[in-house]
């Protein structure tokens, strides 16, 4: 892999000052938005799949602008581990119903009052968070692997 003319991605991100400065804020906003989309999904357009795609895009932007190592530092966990954790979480959400003596994947709901507000907690929500993590983790894995260079 010698002699390769410097193209996009060869360096640690793009050489655009504006993009590089803006990217972390943009990413943070998009991550926040992705969580919002994830949580409203049950009643409004949104959900784990879409949220995960938004989060993956956010991380791809950060990777293009500031380099892969910046993303890895920000993520803390390896993205494929995030995907694995999401898969385990989704499977666990399905298995919880076994403790209630109902078939696999039967939805369980609880409506506790936290600080005076009724909060809907359910295994489908936990499942959807699992979906979100799998999509985010898997796509970020692919994107980072592609952006990464030997010198990273």
């Amino acid at each position: 892999m010698a002699d390769r003319s410097p193209r996009r991605g060869e360096r640690r991100g793009m050489d655009t000052l504006i993009f590089r400065t803006m990217a972390p804020y943009l990413t943070a906003l998009m991550m926040l938005f992705s969580v919002f989309v994830l949580l409203r999904g049950h009643n409004q357009p949104g959900g784990g799949f879409i949220g995960g795609l938004i989060a993956a895009s956010a991380l791809a932007i950060l990777g293009i602008a500031n380099g892969v190592s910046a993303v890895r530092r920000a993520l803390w966990f390896d993205p494929i581990a995030i995907a694995a954790a999401g898969l385990a979480m989704a499977a666990l959400a399905g298995l919880l119903s076994l403790f209630a003596d109902v078939p696999f994947m039967t939805a369980l709901w609880a409506f506790p009052h936290i600080l005076g507000t009724e909060v809907a907690l359910s295994t489908p929500l936990m499942f959807d968070i699992g979906v979100y993590l799998v999509v985010t983790g898997a796509i970020t894995t692919i994107a980072l692997a592609l952006e990464e260079r030997e010198d990273d």
Partner: protein, 816 residues
């Protein structure tokens, strides 16, 4: 045995597997002395099943079992009649002796625990084979014996010869097992019953079926490979690569008899037909002659015994196929006699090898003084094998000649075969049991265990302590084998003697019930060891005389056999190698042909298949969609978006370089997303936007990452070919979608989801409720695919290709 014995029978059947699990731990703790507690397991099984003797003598079979797969009417059920019980007692009784023997033979071997484990697993499998009533249970245990045999033959896996022999045995017997499975399923289909006990009642229907012959051939394929019948005999002598306890146990006394067992078991169902009474005696007779002649040529004790085992199995198959009650009785007697004397002789051969350091009969001699007990056991076993009174072998041979005596040409031909085979086996028996012991003492390599010092020489149970002391000083002194290794041959040889002397009790307990089970009618075996002047006795005398002559001329006979075999040159053993080489070459040629390693080819094939599967069914069933109608009320903004999508397409096709094409793909994708939005699918549109964005990003990254040329370099006919495939796929999908929406819309699911989404799933976004709740298990599968795809792509990208590795770079021609 009472009916409530079922749990105990089940426990007895799985006990060897349980013992196999603890054997390595036990051996680590106790060394070779673990043989003593481990031998208790088969001893216990032996004692337990002895309780069934009285039932079986009374003509009652012990049956029972559990449902296994009730929906397919498959059970785990056993049938313990005279035939099974004799086998069970042989397997467990000889098994106990073999474990003791292995304790001495492999003393200090680093892998002795593993060996015990394997041989106990084998014992459990073999017990399962002989007690199985259900076809599938029989098949599973049958294959388990092949697998455990593979492990045992390949025990010394560092040597190539062992590995080859192990693979050969597995291929031959495992392949035969598949034929057996096919045969059993065919029988199941013909008769509708899946247990042996019921099958015997359906024998007339089976014999009348047009598929009778096919099922017979398939089952014989299983039995003949397992019992090493010509031309599948070659794996058995090669299996002598295994340690001697294995040879004595699997490859003479038990496993190779599984084929004979199966034939005996099925004799009432398949017997008494021309095919059965032709194929079995002819192949059995050929095996008998081939085995003895090849055996004559050998100089290795174990190989000589192995070929006589092949010959004996041939004799058994011949007798089983002969089918008359007397023939079946003689097969019973010979089978038991053979298990006893051949097991003993193998253990003797192992003891000689262990103490003298060689198994070459031309080098051995004069061991009688050093190993008197071994010599005595060997002589007793050889007398039985040679068929001399008053041993069990004599009874068997008398019965054989009684059965074959007759004046028709068929009987004469097989009698002649039996006489020649028995005479040669007589000679070989004494070549193994007498030659090494008589004559002047020779210089021999000495005991194996002294040549290569092993674990600390602790006080050996079995070896007299004074002798143990002497060994240390005098390294090459040959002495008697340790007690653990003497017990087996002595007990088996004495059993052969006792069975011959107390023939009435023996017949009542074993041979009569077993013969009755095989013949499926009550039989009483009466033959005794007292010589009486009759045709069979005269034939015996002829056999012995011939045998003595061959023994005296053994060296010349060996040369003659060697010359004869060399003139043939080719054998099935080489044939096996040629077939395996051919298979590997063929596989390599096929792989290099269909796995080009070029991504273009794979993708082209994939898309051609997609286009074909879309277009061909519509063409065959004339299910083309009717042409779509131009929407009359389409608004201006909608038309603009359609136009943008079309422009995006042209931009992709006409783009000068690839990066532009990728971005242009995004134009088309975004327009489609907007169309989704306009037609009321916000979730879909949302997802489509994100997917399009990420696709463009990832494709662009792939471009830079994989060092692709920036511009398209295809030209001429290549472009045309790809364009045709692309158009075919596009047209196919469009036609399929059009056709699908032209069908009347079924609102059932829509109504269901709309009605219940809020009520039972607490969600108003039906799409999301479907994804995470109604069809959650689907989603779980899908996200698993997503995660695995991520993992796979990560692995693909991380692979650093060093040098030029081409696909299928394991060319067999090069490794040769």
């Amino acid at each position: 045995m009472a009916a409530n014995d079922a749990p105990f029978i089940f426990l007895a059947l799985i006990a060897p597997f349980l013992a196999a699990a603890v054997a390595p731990v036990l051996t680590r703790a106790m060394g070779h002395r673990a043989a003593l507690p481990l031998a208790l397991v088969p001893t216990g099984i032996f004692a337990f099943f002895c309780r069934a003797l009285s039932d079986v003598q009374a003509g009652q079979a012990v049956t029972g079992g559990y449902l296994w797969v009730p929906s397919f009417n498959v059970s785990y059920s056993w049938l313990i009649d005279g035939l099974s019980l004799t086998f069970v007692l042989l397997i467990s009784g000889i098994g106990a002796l073999i474990i003791l023997y292995a304790g001495g033979y492999l003393k200090g071997h680093a892998q002795q625990g593993r060996f015990f484990s394997f041989i106990l697993m084998f014992m459990g499998s073999m017990l399962g084979v002989v007690v199985s009533d259900s076809f599938l249970m029989l098949f599973i245990y049958w294959e388990l014996t092949s697998i455990t045999s593979f492990l045992l033959i390949g025990f010394d896996h560092a040597r190539e010869a062992s590995r080859r022999a192990a693979i050969q045995a597995l291929v031959v017997t495992g392949g035969g097992g598949l034929a057996l499975l096919a045969g059993l399923i065919l029988v199941w289909n013909i008769t509708g019953v899946s247990t042996i006990s019921l099958l015997l009642e359906y024998a007339p229907a089976l014999k009348a079926s047009p598929f009778f012959f096919a099922s017979l051939l398939l089952i014989l394929g299983g039995a003949f490979t397992k019992s090493a019948q010509f031309p599948f005999h070659f794996w058995l002598p090669n299996a002598m690569e295994a340690p001697t306890p294995v040879s004595a146990y699997l490859h003479s006394a038990t496993m190779v008899k599984a084929g004979v067992f199966l034939l005996m078991r099925l004799q009432p169902a398949f017997g008494d037909t021309p095919a059965w009474e032709t194929i079995l005696p002819v192949f059995g007779g050929a095996t008998l002659i081939a085995g003895t002649v090849i055996g004559l040529r050998q100089t290795d004790l174990k190989l000589m015994l192995a070929y006589t085992t092949v010959a004996s199995l041939g004799l058994l198959v011949m007798l089983t196929g002969f089918g008359t009650p007397h023939a079946l009785e003689s097969a019973v007697l010979y089978l038991i006699a053979h298990a006893l004397f051949k097991g003993a002789l193998f253990m003797v051969a192992g003891a000689i090898d262990h103490e003298a350091g060689t198994r070459d009969v031309t080098r051995l001699g004069g061991l009688r003084r050093a190993m008197p007990v071994t010599f005595a056991a060997a002589m007793l076993a050889a007398l039985s094998m040679g068929g001399l009174p008053p041993l069990l072998g004599f009874l068997a041979k008398e019965e054989i000649y009684e059965a074959l005596a007759g004046s028709n040409p068929r009987a004469l031909a097989f009698m002649l075969t039996a006489i020649i085979g028995n005479a040669l086996m007589f000679a070989l028996a004494f070549a193994v049991a007498l030659k090494p012991f008589i004559g002047p003492e020779r210089a021999l390599p000495g005991p194996h265990h002294e040549a290569k010092p092993v674990a600390p020489a602790s006080a050996l149970p079995g070896v007299a302590s004074t002798k143990g002391e002497k060994d240390k000083m005098q390294a090459t002194h040959i002495h008697e084998a340790p007690l653990l290794m003497l017990a087996g041959p002595v007990v088996l040889a004495l059993a052969g003697l006792a069975a011959g002397v107390f023939s009435d009790a023996f017949h009542a307990a074993f041979s009569s019930p077993m013969a009755s089970a095989i013949a499926h009618q009550a039989r009483t075996v009466t033959i005794s060891a007292i010589p009486h002047l009759s045709l069979p006795f005269l034939l015996s005398l002829v056999t012995v005389a011939l045998g003595v002559i061959v023994y005296l001329l053994l060296d010349r006979a060996r040369d003659a056999a060697a010359a004869a075999l060399e003139s043939i040159g080719w054998g099935p053993d080489q044939g096996f190698d040629q077939a395996m080489r051919g298979l590997i070459r063929g596989a390599h040629a096929l792989t290099t042909r269909i796995q080009s390693g070029r991504l273009e080819t794979y993708i082209m094939v994939t898309f051609i298949v997609i286009a074909t599967s879309l277009l061909v069914p519509m063409a065959i069933f004339s299910e083309w969609p009717s042409p779509p109608v131009w929407p009359a009320e389409a608004g201006f903004h909608e038309l603009v978006i359609f136009a943008i999508a079309v422009i995006g397409l042209f931009a992709v096709v006409l783009a000068a370089d690839r990066l532009t094409a990728i971005v242009s793909l995004g134009i088309q994708g975004f327009s489609v997303a907007v169309i989704f939005m306009l037609y009321g699918a916000p979730d879909l549109a949302f997802t489509q936007f994100m997917v399009e964005t990420l696709s463009v990003v990832i494709l662009a990254l792939v471009m830079t990452r994989l060092d692709l040329q920036p511009s398209d370099h295809r030209h001429g006919w290549e472009m045309i070919k790809d364009a045709v495939i692309a158009l075919a796929c596009g047209v196919g999908f469009a036609a399929l979608l059009l056709r699908a929406v032209q069908m009347p819309f079924n609102r059932e699911l829509t109504d269901f989801f709309n009605a219940w989404s809020k009520v039972v799933a607490h969600g108003t976004n039906v799409v999301n409720v479907i994804i995470v709740d109604f069809r959650g298990t689907d989603t779980l599968g899908e996200i698993a695919v997503v995660a695995i795809t991520g993992l796979a792509i990560l692995a693909l990208i991380r692979i650093r290709v060093s040098g030029t590795v081409r696909p299928a770079d394991n060319d067999p021609e090069r490794s040769d």
